[in-house]
């Protein structure tokens, strides 16, 4: 603790960093690359000048799409126009209050005026501005700022920012998981450093990344994935240090049943798949030797010497060698993958995971029932679904199956407020759209041991009744 050094280089934007662009409530995740054109909110610019600046710096977009760091003082805009009206009884909407035409504004823009200056011009050329109330003037300025402001702030990515970004830009990609719902999930699942958490998600990696952020590189996360491979686009955007990836494991959901049945022989299965893939690879290579030849200038030069048997033999041999090397490489890669699969299988086989987080477009019921088996008793789990009905089914099945307590289906309502002098009120109501959660805690499955000797002495164990009265 009390690390007061505040490491300088940690706070500065570097090339290759994953960052988030921000203007108002709008976010966009990008990677810092030289000479890369970025389009954000209908404006394009290059990020080159951001390198070396501190995080949370606001930049002005100047001509040619270059960014110019805004000085801290500049951010304060003294728009003091003391003259105000009291009400709107004399304000008539004749469409002529603004004396600047569309073309005039375009000219101002072409002259390279700053957004703030254009707004000032608009105010000066508005005949009604001075008659507007103080609040109305404020609102006018805010509206124009939204349109003409040409600044962008570069911030460090976080679960908060990325969850809000996805929610605003691409809710479909994250199954309409609202950020407050994601917050509930992380807390209800008691996600923290040092635990072993199972994650099954089809939310572009947002949920996985959020879990990893909360674990800070301590413990392990096992991503159960459907299909050919795990989707982790959203994880990239978090820009985790490389050691975070050491705690990340993956396991294909299609191997869950064999694993549970004890029939998953990682090594045997793998060498099979291995062999198959190698054969395919070899075939592919045989089918397109020509393409390879043309691709390499070396071989082109060799072609000019065609006819020389010795050379051709040599070429053949070299090609053979290369092919072998490639096959070898592929084999190594596959072996590596198999090794990882086997290692993950071992992690799962302990059936002692500390938490389970599910958020996917699949029916949650089989996923939950399948993956719960990997949890230790007395561990939390949480399932997200966009639809409540799917969770009702999960709830019913879990009640039948037993082995869980504290089952709850919930959703949250999120309401933002505008807080301004004399103008405080709720801004918008978000309801329903944030999805639903089923959460609970695992307990030891009912076994003979639980119904111990004492129960025999008792004439009437009122187990059913207890539940009823409490329900």
């Amino acid at each position: 603790m009390a690390d007061n050094r505040e490491d300088d280089c940690e706070d500065r934007i570097k090339e290759g960093d994953y960052v988030v662009l921000k203007r108002g409530e709008i976010f966009k995740a990008v990677q810092i690359q030289q000479r890369k054109k970025v389009i954000f909110e209908k404006q394009w610019f290059f990020l080159d000048n951001a390198v070396g600046q501190l995080y949370s710096t606001t930049f002005e977009i100047v001509s040619g799409g270059t960014l110019q760091p805004q000085k801290l003082e500049d951010a304060e805009k003294p728009t003091d126009s003391k003259e105000t009206g009291t009400d709107n009884r004399n304000i008539v909407d004749d469409g002529k209050s603004q004396k600047l035409t569309r073309d005039d504004i375009e000219v101002l823009k072409e002259q390279g005026l700053k957004g703030q200056e254009i707004i000032q011009q608009l105010i000066e050329h508005s005949t009604t501005f001075r008659d507007k109330t103080e609040y109305s003037q404020d609102k006018y300025i805010k509206k124009k700022e939204k349109k003409y402001k040409n600044t962008v702030t570069i911030v460090r990515p976080s679960c908060r920012i990325l969850a809000m970004m996805y929610n605003g830009r691409e809710p479909g990609k994250i199954c309409h998981l609202r950020y407050d719902t994601l917050a509930q999930m992380l807390t209800l699942a008691n996600v923290h450093a040092g635990s072993k958490v199972l994650v099954f998600e089809t939310c572009a990696g947002l949920v996985l990344g959020s879990v990893m952020e909360r674990m800070g590189g301590y413990g392990s996360v096992i991503q159960m994935y459907p299909g050919g491979g795990p989707v982790r686009a959203g994880v990239e955007s978090f820009g985790f240090p490389s050691h975070f990836h050491d705690m990340l494991h993956e396991f294909p959901i299609c191997h869950v049943n064999p694993l549970l049945a004890g029939t998953l022989d990682a090594t045997a299965k793998d060498s099979d798949a291995d062999q198959k893939k190698l054969n395919v690879a070899a075939e592919e290579e045989q089918n397109q030797p020509g393409a390879e030849q043309q691709g390499s200038p070396e071989e082109d030069s060799m072609d000019t010497n065609a006819g020389d048997d010795a050379e051709q033999d040599q070429e053949k041999m070299e090609r053979e060698k290369r092919k072998e090397a490639k096959a070898q490489e592929r084999k190594l890669k596959l072996e590596e993958k198999q090794k990882k699969l086997a290692a993950t299988a071992t992690l799962l086989e302990g059936r002692n995971a500390d938490g389970l987080v599910i958020a996917s477009r699949f029916h949650p019921c089989p996923v939950l029932l399948g993956l719960l088996k990997f949890l230790s008793p007395s561990r939390p789990f949480v399932v997200y679904s966009q639809y409540k009905e799917a969770l009702i089914e999960c709830y019913t099945k879990l009640k039948e199956r037993g082995g869980t307590v504290n089952l709850k289906i919930t959703d949250t309502w999120l309401r933002h407020y505008q807080v301004l002098p004399n103008r405080t009120h709720p801004v918008l109501m978000m309801s329903g759209g944030g999805g639903y959660l089923l959460s609970g805690t695992t307990v030891a499955a009912d076994s003979s041991k639980a119904a111990g000797s004492e129960r025999a002495q008792e004439p009437a164990p009122k187990r059913l009744k207890l539940n009823d009265t409490e329900g």
């Binding site: 505040e6 909360r214 009702i392």
Partner: protein, 296 residues
């Protein structure tokens, strides 16, 4: 057991959560030779708890049974002895994410109150973060410090018994996040700013039940140069799963030859699984105001 690390078996000295039913849990300090009375009978710690696995079913003397659960901040929140009004999990979850807490975060909090939020913060910032919490009520400060020790998280937290509005948090320029749950948070905004990191800035949250408090806090925040000021409210809805039967009305027969036997004895109805909202639910806990201290 510790609130920041799972273990499998119950040991002497642990704090275990006894789960009686879905809305009734109680914390138990596990001690060799001790007994705990529940409405289902006695739990004898030496035989029923110590050495058992967390999550086991324990049969009590009257034949009823309970489950013994590993403590988590969420279970603690519903089990803890109230010394003040507390924050519940829905607000805590939102605060944790919006303050961007994670392992390694340094957090300042005031007041500590009953420690409901404190435990959640400690869970999230362990093993390398630290919580500086300030409680002006001496007895509460002592009690909560004692609890942190019992819960084996005292290495992650410093409790200070002082008035945050006058004396601040006792640290400056170290915090990534500040949380205020006091009657006049606007008086502590300056101290909050001082506690946050100078170069990197940080996040602030203030919890207030009344809108007038929010108004004054927001004014103070913007006066102190805070940005991204955002006030919000999160409400939890719990859906109770029910099986309901909706009877079908008798429209009478539409054809002469309809057999009269049908529906003579049984009323036709449609049965389905659905959920019902609770009759009454908490409609308001407090407004959460968030803000960012810009880098300086």
């Amino acid at each position: 057991m510790s609130f920041v690390e799972y273990s499998d078996f119950i040991q002497d000295g642990d704090v275990a959560i006894v789960y009686l039913s879905h809305n009734s849990v109680m914390p138990v300090k596990v001690q060799q030779g001790a007994q705990t009375q529940t409405r289902y009978g006695v739990i004898r710690h030496s035989t029923d708890l110590i050495g058992q696995r967390y999550g086991s079913k324990v049969t009590c003397s009257k034949g009823g049974w309970v489950y013994v659960l590993h403590p988590t901040p969420e279970l603690w929140t519903v089990a803890l002895p109230h010394r003040t009004q507390i924050l519940y999990t829905t607000d805590i979850a939102t605060i944790t994410m919006m303050l961007e807490l994670k392992p390694g975060s340094v957090v300042c909090e005031s007041g500590t109150g009953s420690g409901s939020l404190s435990h959640a913060i400690l869970r999230t910032i362990a093993p390398t973060g630290h919580l500086h919490t300030v409680e002006f009520h001496q007895q509460r400060a002592e009690k909560v410090a004692e609890e942190f020790k019992e819960h084996r998280v005292d290495h992650l937290v410093t409790v200070r018994n002082q008035d945050v509005c006058q004396d601040g948090f006792g640290v400056t320029g170290v915090a990534d996040a500040v949380f205020l749950d006091i009657p006049s948070p606007w008086e502590a905004v300056g101290h909050a700013k001082a506690a946050l990191k100078k170069r990197a800035g940080g996040r602030l949250c203030s919890f207030s039940p009344c809108i007038e408090q929010v108004q004054r806090t927001c004014d103070a925040l913007s006066d102190h140069g805070f940005e991204e000021i955002d006030t919000l409210e999160v409400l939890l809805r719990v859906h109770e799963v029910r099986t309901v039967s909706l009877p079908l009305p008798d429209f009478g027969s539409d054809s002469e030859e309809a057999p009269p036997a049908v529906g003579a004895t049984e009323h036709p109805s449609v049965t389905m699984k659905t959920t019902t909202p609770p009759r009454r639910m908490p409609g308001h806990t407090g407004y959460l105001t968030f803000a960012t201290k810009p880098r300086s």
